[in-house]
């Protein structure tokens, strides 16, 4: 589809038609509300999704659409747009070295001095379709020698309501399961048909899935006392300031000595002086200091 546009002829091309000023206003709005930061290079990507949503709601002008996003009390349209703008790609046992690190070293450190039976809280922030939290669950059950001594709570959240619904359902296709050993698939999944497997109910029920925007301080306030936070492959879509803010909110959510795991291409050094990088044999994690 195409939209009415006030662009000059030099500006043509196959983008849907946000003027430079509208594009700026739009990106600023998204940055404030979601932490997601889109540069000029992403213009085509943003344009397409915005014009799609504008067509769906029957709005003609970008300004009108922006107002709808701003002032709609239910926030429904913003959610729908966010669902289209996020990149949800993930799979089981992604960046396995961090899961290795978790069960080989980090968790032992987390529980040091804690009496048996106490709680351990692990949070997958930006869990997409659920592969990450389920991978954590399976890794703990299979490979952490002290798993039975503690009560482990797993939290998982995402800003995208559609992927969360799929995470709760726990149905996966071959592509998601590729990195997972066959025997574990057999042990934890039920085969539904040729294409799909569903993760067992006990695991589905053990994880609390919730809709959380990690750029929103009010929502983040509900998360406290976490021992390990996985926040992998989403801060790459944030700008420097967004990363700094996220770091400081994660700091509040963690218990002293708690760890944060970032994706391999993300480094905390540019982002914050709050955490201490800890080099383990399997991976580098960031730790909240004792006090």
């Amino acid at each position: 589809m195409s939209l009415p546009s006030d662009k000059g002829p030099s500006d043509k091309g196959d983008t849907a038609g946000l003027s430079a000023a509208d594009y700026d206003a739009f990106c600023r709005f998204l940055r404030e509300r979601t932490g997601l930061s889109f540069t000029e290079a992403k213009r085509y990507f943003v344009d397409r999704r915005v014009s799609e949503r504008m067509a769906a709601v029957g709005v003609e002008h970008v300004r009108q659409y922006l107002n709808l996003l701003r002032f709609q009390a239910s926030g429904e349209e913003l959610q729908l747009l966010v669902n289209r703008m996020t990149v949800n790609e993930t799979y089981f046992f992604r960046e396995l070295y961090q899961l290795d690190c978790l069960v080989n070293a980090a968790l032992d450190e987390v529980v040091r001095g804690r009496p048996p039976g106490s709680r351990v809280r692990i949070w997958s922030a930006g869990c997409a379709t659920g592969e990450e939290p389920y991978s954590i669950a399976i890794t703990l059950l299979e490979r952490w020698s002290r798993v039975d001594e503690f009560e482990i709570e797993l939290y998982a959240s995402d800003i995208d309501s559609q992927v969360l619904a799929r995470a709760r359902e726990g149905i996966y296709e071959q592509r998601s399961l590729q990195a997972m050993p066959r025997d574990l698939v057999a042990k934890y999944f039920t085969r539904l048909d040729d294409q799909s497997w569903q993760i067992m109910e006990e695991l589905r029920d053990s994880i609390d899935f919730s809709l959380v925007n990690i750029a929103d301080p009010q929502q983040m306030e509900n998360f406290r006392g976490m021992d390990v936070i996985f926040c992998r492959n989403l801060l790459i879509y944030f700008d420097d300031l967004g990363r700094r803010e996220a770091a400081s909110m994660f700091y509040d959510a963690l218990s002293p000595n708690g760890f944060i795991c970032l994706g391999h291409s993300e480094s905390m050094s540019r982002m914050s002086s709050l955490f201490v990088p800890r080099r383990f044999p399997d991976a580098i994690l960031y730790q909240k200091p004792q006090s």
Binding site: R119, R121, A137, L140, L141, V147, D148, E149, F150, E151, I152, E153, L154, Y155, S157, E202, L203, D205, S206, I207, D208, S210, L211, V212, N213, P217, Q218, Q219, E221, N222, F223, D240, L241, R244, E245, A247, S248, M249, Y251, D252, S272, S273, L274
Partner: protein, 205 residues
């Protein structure tokens, strides 16, 4: 099984909102978590700049300090940038570094007018910070300001930080400026070395 059902966390329900009151008042709370919370909440309040800056002077908890800095960057006004600048003279290296990084993350149009005057500060350390910072601000005056340092600053170390800043920027127009430094300090081996390095960089060799 060792996994227990996690208690429901309702992300939609704000936890602290019930406590009410003005976050400005919590900035001086004894509990660092509360002070962090205040700083978070003040990140969109330009009127909070003086209070944030005053707290920054006294704040000893590194995590609260980081949040105060982040709030000032987020506010992003000229007043917020101006409030950061005096902390560049702090004895505390951590604070200084935090301030440099923060000014760098502000819009260049806002940060530059606050930072540029530091190029004439009496303290050569301050001039060095200013040169480093200016090198990182995408601003049209960048080259001219750094050229001014190279042509006029009496202190060779300040000039060398300007050279470094220009090299980081990678603009070939900077080369003739850098070369002028050899004329000012003909006997300084480090100047000779830096100018050489700049030539290699800009000629792509």
């Amino acid at each position: 099984m060792a996994l227990v059902k996690a208690r429901k966390i309702d992300g939609a329900k704000p936890a602290g909102a019930a406590e009410g009151g003005d976050p400005l008042a919590w900035l001086e709370d004894a509990d660092p978590a509360r002070r962090r919370q205040a700083a978070h909440a003040l990140g969109d309040r330009p009127d909070a700049v003086p209070a944030l800056s005053a707290r920054l002077t006294r704040e000893e908890d590194p995590s609260v300090r980081e949040t105060l800095l982040t709030a000032l960057v987020r506010i992003g006004t000229a007043a917020a940038a101006a409030a950061l600048v005096p902390h560049l003279a702090s004895e505390d290296v951590g604070l200084r570094n935090g301030v440099i990084e923060s000014l760098q993350q502000m819009p260049a149009a806002v940060a530059m007018p606050e930072v540029a005057p530091l190029l004439t500060a009496a303290d050569s350390d301050l001039r060095i910070f200013a040169a480093q910072l200016i090198g990182k601000l995408p601003h049209p005056d960048r080259l001219d300001l750094l050229a001014g340092v190279i042509d006029r600053d009496p202190h060779v170390n300040v000039c060398l930080s300007a050279v470094e800043a220009l090299m980081e920027g990678g603009d070939p127009a900077a080369l003739p400026v850098v070369e002028r430094l050899s004329g000012r300090f003909p006997d300084d081996p480090f100047v000779a070395f830096s100018v050489d390095a700049a030539r290699r960089l800009f000629s792509g060799a």
